[in-house]
Structures are given as structure tokens and as C-alpha cells.
């Protein structure tokens, strides 16, 4: 589960990790009201107005409705007009940003609607660095990656100057140790107060990653302030969905407006669903088979409209919901049900499909391939239902049939 920058910073601040002071705003008035206290508390004349969406590249992103406005804007309370003028500038920005669509390199051409702004104090930056904590699958452990190349995409650093990436493995039995944190601080060239605050920062962040079950923590840039403090200027965090059960407090961070409505609907029924651009709806059990079904459809000349894994524990109700979600997509011109039952029983799938068609009707061709646990019963249910179903003998056979029927 991705969370917003302001939420990540809230979590960090609660764990003693230095972040700039900031306030979240969902309305223009709230955005304006944040300006004065931020400037007065920090003594810094700058505030930053940041769009909160689940995608990176905001600084360089532009609003579709207002191409002159960037996703992140710096406002300075100068000599003329002071705080009052800054408030008016923030008001004009917030009016344009809130409710508008921000397009960045990560949002794709459709962009994302901005519903929240984060107004943050300005920081006097000495150096910009990079820090992230991710799972290293080769070691089966989280690692801290750090680099002196703040503000640059880590993939770019990895490609061009891999020697600049520092790595420390987090042993889950002891967490990040003092010596590892020191090694990172030395490697980043931190000195004096910056060194001390860096060591504390790295250790606290590593512990937060473990405690919060993060999939990813990325601080880019992590800065050293002119006052010698290591601080998270940005904060990207994503939480392991499988661990949300033990983080009741984090569940409220979920921003449903960031999710695709069909994917959201599917998740209510325990279905793993991803919308794609093609015309052939797929209903499959098992993630590997669902991917392979998409691959095969493409291989025989079609385009899948979705990835849909009904999983192993689906009930007839779940399968009915899955079928309905597929048929509600107007771009779907045909449906391919491909089931190889193991934990999933073919009769459950068959009942779900029959029930769904009864409820919603069926206006496009339907090809069904069933194999595995309770296959005879499943085939019998489909046959006795009297539905207009084309049956297939194999995955490839089914893919060819549905592609042919939707041409």
C-alpha cells in the first residue's frame, strides 16, 4: 500500500526522524492558514507547496488545466508584502492545484487528480543525498542504500556510477548496527553534527522500516541542512499489504481516491485485478497462470483487457463479482475463463460464472477452459446451465478461440 509523503513524514516524525515542519491542506483556506505559522515557527521565509499524489516526478510535473503550474512550488515571503503576500501567492497556487490533474513521468498521460497539498517550511540546504531501504531478494533481508547523488533517480546512479551506491544489510535479529550506521555516515562524507545526526537518522529509519513492515522507504533527497542536521526533505513509503492486519493505525492512510475503481471493487472480494488496455477479459485462478494467459492471448494476436486472479479461496460470490467487474468494462469484447483447479475447485468457478450470467446477462462471447480439482462437476454445471459457452481443451486453444471470436 502506497502512502502519501505527508503520511510518511508523520510516521517518521513520530519515530524521532527529522523532517521539515508541514501541514496538510485539503482546501484553499487550509493551505493559506498554514503559511503564517510555518514561517513564524521556522524563521525561514520560504514555504513549499507540494501536491500529494502516489507518484513521483512531481517537481517537474505540470497540471493539465494549468500548464504554467508545477506539482511542487516554492513561495517566498520577501521584503515587499511579507507573509501577507506569500499567503496570497499560496492562495492562487492552491486554487489552481487542488482538484486539478497533475501529469508527471510516473502518472502516465492521464495524470492524477490532486486532492491534498502539503505546505512545508523552507530548509536551508547544505547537501542533497539519497537513502532508501528495500528488500534484497538475493539475501532475503532489507538493505539500506545510500548515495551522495541526492535528487537523482537511483536507477540512473546504479547504471552510470554504481560505485557511488553504499549498501548495508539489515540483519533482522539485530537491526542496523551502530557500526553500519557509522560506515554509511563516513561513506557519505558526513562530519561533525551532520555525522551524529546521520547515524541517528539511519538507525531510526531502519528500525521504522522493520516495525512498519515497509516494502519501500525512499528519501530522495535526504539533506544536510546548513545547521548540520540530516533531514528527510522528501519521503516515499509503501507498506506490505500482507502486514496491514497488524497495523490497524496505518489502514486509515489508505487513499482510495488514488486507486482504480475497478481494482478497488475487486479487492473487496479478495480478487487480484489489474486493468489493462486490451479487449479480452480474463478470469483465471493463480497469478502465474493469469499472467501466462495474458501472454498467450497476446501471442495469438489478441490484447488482454485485464489481469484477474481469483485466487485459491474464492467462493461462488467472489467469482460472480469477478465476472461482473469484467463485463462492466465497456472495452471488453469477449471473455476467457481459464481455470486449472488445485486449491480452487472447478465447480465453484462454474457456479460463479453461471450465477453471474444470470444476474448480469452476457452480451459478448465466452470461452471457458476448465481442468483440475472437481473438473467433471464443473463441466457438468456449465453444460446443464444451458449458457452459450464455448469450451476449450487447453490454454492455447481457448486463447485462439476467444481471439478469433472477438476479431
Amino acid at each position: 500500500m502506497k502512502i502519501h509523503e505527508y503520511q510518511a513524514k508523520e510516521l517518521m516524525a513520530g519515530r524521532g526522524i527529522a523532517v521539515p515542519e508541514g501541514r496538510v491542506a485539503t482546501s484553499v483556506d487550509e493551505a493559506v492558514a498554514a503559511v503564517r505559522p510555518l514561517i513564524e515557527n521556522s524563521g525561514n521565509k520560504v514555504v513549499v507547496v507540494k501536491s500529494q499524489i502516489h507518484a513521483g516526478g512531481r517537481g517537474k510535473g505540470r497540471f493539465k488545466e494549468h500548464p504554467d503550474v508545477a506539482g511542487v512550488n516554492v513561495v517566498t515571503a520577501g521584503l515587499e508584502g511579507g507573509i501577507k503576500a506569500a499567503e496570497e501567492e499560496v492562495r492562487e497556487l492552491a486554487k489552481k492545484m487542488l482538484g486539478s490533474t497533475l501529469e508527471t513521468i510516473q502518472t502516465g498521460p492521464e495524470g492524477k487528480q490532486v486532492n491534498r497539498l502539503y505546505i512545508e517550511q523552507g530548509i536551508d540546504i547544505e547537501r542533497e543525498l539519497y537513502l532508501s531501504i528495500v528488500l534484497d531478494r538475493a539475501q532475503d533481508k532489507n538493505i539500506v542504500m545510500a548515495s551522495t547523488e541526492g535528487g537523482v533517480e537511483i536507477e540512473e546512479v546504479a547504471e552510470h556510477t554504481p560505485e557511488k551506491i553504499l549498501r548495508e544489510t539489515i540483519d533482522p535479529a539485530v537491526d542496523l548496527t551502530d557500526f553500519q550506521a557509522r560506515r554509511l555516515a563516513f561513506g557519505l562524507g558526513l562530519e561533525g553534527d551532520g555525522f551524529k545526526s546521520g547515524v541517528k537518522f539511519f538507525k531510526s529509519l531502519a528500525k521504522a522500516a522493520t516495525d512498519l513492515d515497509t516494502d519501500l522507504v525512499e528519501i530522495n533527497p535526504m539533506v544536510v541542512t546548513k545547521q548540520g542536521q540530516v533531514m528527510a526533505l522528501d519521503g516515499k513509503m509503501s507498506i506490505d499489504n500482507n502486514a496491514l492486519g497488524r497495523h490497524k493505525d496505518l489502514q486509515e492512510y489508505r487513499d482510495r481516491s488514488e486507486e482504480d475503481p475497478a481494482e478497488l471493487e475487486a479487492s473487496k472480494y479478495g480478487l487480484s485485478f489489474i486493468k489493462l488496455d486490451g479487449t479480452i477479459g480474463c478470469l483465471v485462478n493463480g497469478a502465474g497462470l493469469a499472467m501466462a494467459t495474458m501472454d498467450t492471448i497476446k501471442h495469438v494476436g489478441g490484447e488482454p483487457a485485464n489481469f484477474l486472479d481469483v485466487g485459491g479461496g474464492a467462493t461462488t460470490e467472489n467469482v460472480t463479482a469477478a465476472f461482473r467487474i469484467i463485463t462492466e468494462d465497456p472495452s471488453v469484447k469477449g471473455i476467457f475463463v481459464n481455470i486449472f483447479g488445485g486449491i480452487m475447485r472447478c465447480d465453484v468457478i462454474a457456479n460463479g460464472v453461471v450465477e453471474a450470467v444470470k444476474q448480469t446477462g452476457l452480451e459478448v462471447p465466452l470461452v471457458v477452459r476448465l481442468e483440475g480439482t472437481n473438473v467433471k462437476l464443473g463441466k457438468q454445471i456449465i453444460e446443464e446451465s444451458g449458457l452459450n459457452v464455448i469450451s476449450a481443451d487447453s490454454l492455447k486453444d481457448g486463447a485462439e478461440k476467444i481471439v478469433e471470436l472477438t476479431k
Binding site: L135, R137, A138, D140, K141, N142, I154, E155, A158, D171, P172, A173, T210, D213, D215, D240, N241, N242, A243, G245, R246, S272, I274, L276, V284, N285, G286, A287, G288, L289, A290, M291, A292, M294, D295, T296, K298, H299, V300, P304, F307, D309, G311, G312, G313, F340, G341, G342, I343, E371, G372, T373, S394, L395, K396, D397, A399
Partner: protein
């Protein structure tokens, strides 16, 4: 011969919910020697399984079965009293890591974790816990391990399997069934099929299983089924190139998967331009593996690889 499981396997089950009960019953019907269950709140009770024999499994049995399985408070008790040498885990995700560690603590040689959706950090700790211990973990989030007509541990449909020559290794449950069924239909059959699971942190990996099959005299070829995400397939390809003495076929799912989207499995994601199907297919081909273009061609790919060898 076979790997990991055979007629000497004595299995216990951890987790007797509806899924665990359903599938342990299928394993008994298949002829697997299930010797006990572990359920702390039902200790000293027993669970009776009865039904029609699955004749696709262990031969020479009657048409029906009725067995009473003793339930133990702890895995250690179960091992001491039954001599179990394998455990299958159906415990729900929040408690599954503890169940795996309990089995490892009891030094059970083989632990097969079926449970899906175990938090990644739990598995990081499990892997650390298992270092230096004697147990082997298969899974989690996997269909299990089967040696046809000898022993079924997990959730796979038994009837699609046939004893034969090919070792099967797969990250995906349902794609394992596809491969197995094709190998049954084209007459090659299987020595053992191992589902290693689709989670980013798991027990037995491709290389571990490849080694076992390479050393198994009855296995004449191996098919490995991977998917996008991580670099396990590339590492396996490198190992095959240097060490494998038997023909290998393969398939990689996710050629059409969009980057940044998790395709069902926690481990199946293309991120930072890494873990794509193209890279994996190229690495496997470079190691001499015959890669099937679609999952329907897996059986043919295995045939071709064995002919070439």
C-alpha cells in the same frame, strides 16, 4: 527415485482449518502417510478422515479409507510420538511464520508452507531463524511437493500426475499443473514436482531444486517455470550453464506484464527496469534451456530439450 518425498514420508499437518482439512483429506485419499496434526487448542483429540480412495495415487489400496489422525499440542510432541519427517503448513498468514519456526525447531527435515499472504518481514525473520538448522523449507505460497503414486503434500490435483522422467520446479501453482498435465499427456511423466512459491522471500529456490534433480538418477530432464520479478531465474540460468548435466526446458510468465504493477504474487513485479521476462528468457536461452513460447508448449519444449541432449 525421486526428490524430497516418497513412500517413506511421514507427514504431519499444522493448521486444520477448512482448507487444511480439505487438502489433507485429499492427500490421505492419494495414499500419503499422514501420521498426525498439530493444533494447540485441540490437543489429545483426533480427527477422522474417510472417503473414496483416489486411485491415481499410491497403488494397491482398497476403494475406501478411514483413518483417525491424532492431534498434538506441539510439533515436538508430534515428532517424538509419530516419527514424522515432513510437515505441511496451512496455518493462517499472521501465525504461519511461527508455525514454520516451530517445525524447524523440531528439526523436521521437510517443511512445506502452503499459506499465502505471509508478511515479508516475517519471512525475513524465518529465513534468519532457519540458518544453521537442518530443516528444508519449501514455499510459502506454493502448491507443495508431489512424487506421483507415492506422496502428495499440498494442494495440487493428484490425478494429473504420472510417474516418469521429468523434474518440475515452479514459482506458480497453476502453471505447475499445466506443465505436469502436459508431461503426463505426452508420456514423459514426472519424478517429482516442486512448487517453490511466488513470494519474494521463500525457502527452496530454483538452484536448490535443480541440484536435487541433477543428483537424482531417475530424473532425465527438468522443467523450470519462472515469472517476472527478482533475479532467481537469471541465477538459476547461470548455475545451469556451469553445472547442469541434464536437459532443461523452461517458461517465464509475465511477458505482457506492465512495469510497477504487482501481478498477484508478492514477488511478481517489474521494478526499476529489473525482473522482466525478456531478461530471464534471454538468460535461460543462453544457458541452453529450451524456452516455451506459451504455457501450452511446455511439454513440447521438454521433449525438444531431451531430444537435443
Amino acid at each position: 527415485m525421486s526428490i524430497l518425498v516418497d513412500t517413506n514420508t511421514k507427514l504431519i499437518v499444522q493448521g486444520l482449518g477448512s482448507t487444511g482439512t480439505f487438502h489433507i483429506d485429499k492427500s490421505i485419499a492419494y495414499g500419503t502417510n499422514v501420521v498426525g496434526a498439530v493444533h494447540p487448542s485441540r490437543a489429545s483429540q483426533s480427527e477422522t478422515f474417510e472417503g473414496e480412495t483416489d486411485h491415481s495415487g499410491v497403488p494397491g489400496r482398497g476403494d475406501s479409507y478411514k483413518v483417525e489422525i491424532p492431534i498434538f499440542a506441539t510439533v515436538r510432541d508430534a515428532v517424538e510420538q509419530t516419527g514424522a519427517n515432513a510437515s505441511v503448513i496451512f496455518v493462517p498468514p499472521p501465525f504461519a511464520a511461527d508455525a514454520i519456526m516451530e517445525a524447524a525447531d523440531a528439526d523436521i527435515p521437510l517443511i512445506v508452507a502452503i499459506t499465502e499472504h505471509i508478511p515479508i518481514m516475517d519471512m525475513v525473520k524465518v529465513k534468519r531463524y532457519m540458518q544453521g538448522r537442518s530443516s528444508r523449507l519449501v514455499g510459502p505460497n506454493c502448491p507443495g511437493v508431489i512424487t506421483p503414486k507415492q506422496c502428495r503434500i499440498g494442494i495440487m490435483p493428484g490425478y494429473i500426475h504420472q510417474p516418469g522422467k521429468v523434474g518440475v520446479i515452479s514459482k506458480s501453482g497453476t502453471l505447475t499443473y499445466e506443465a505436469v498435465f502436459q508431461l503426463t499427456n505426452n508420456g514423459l511423466g514426472q519424478t517429482t514436482a516442486v512448487g517453490i512459491g511466488g513470494d519474494p522471500v521463500n525457502g527452496t529456490d530454483f538452484i536448490d531444486a535443480l541440484k536435487l534433480f541433477n543428483d537424482d538418477p531417475e530424473t532425465e530432464g527438468v522443467i523450470m517455470i519462472g515469472e517476472i520479478g527478482g533475479t532467481a531465474e537469471e541465477e538459476a540460468a547461470a548455475w545451469i550453464k556451469d553445472n547442469m548435466t541434464k536437459p532443461v526446458a523452461g517458461f517465464i510468465a509475465g511477458t505482457t506484464a506492465p512495469p510497477g504493477k504487482r501481478m498477484g504474487h508478492a514477488g511478481a513485479i517489474i521494478s526499476g527496469g529489473k525482473g522482466t521476462a525478456e531478461e530471464k528468457i534471454a538468460a535461460l536461452k543462453d544457458a541452453g534451456v529450451v524456452v516455451a513460447a506459451t504455457p501450452s508448449d511446455m511439454g513440447d519444449a521438454m521433449m525438444e530439450a531431451m531430444k537435443k541432449a
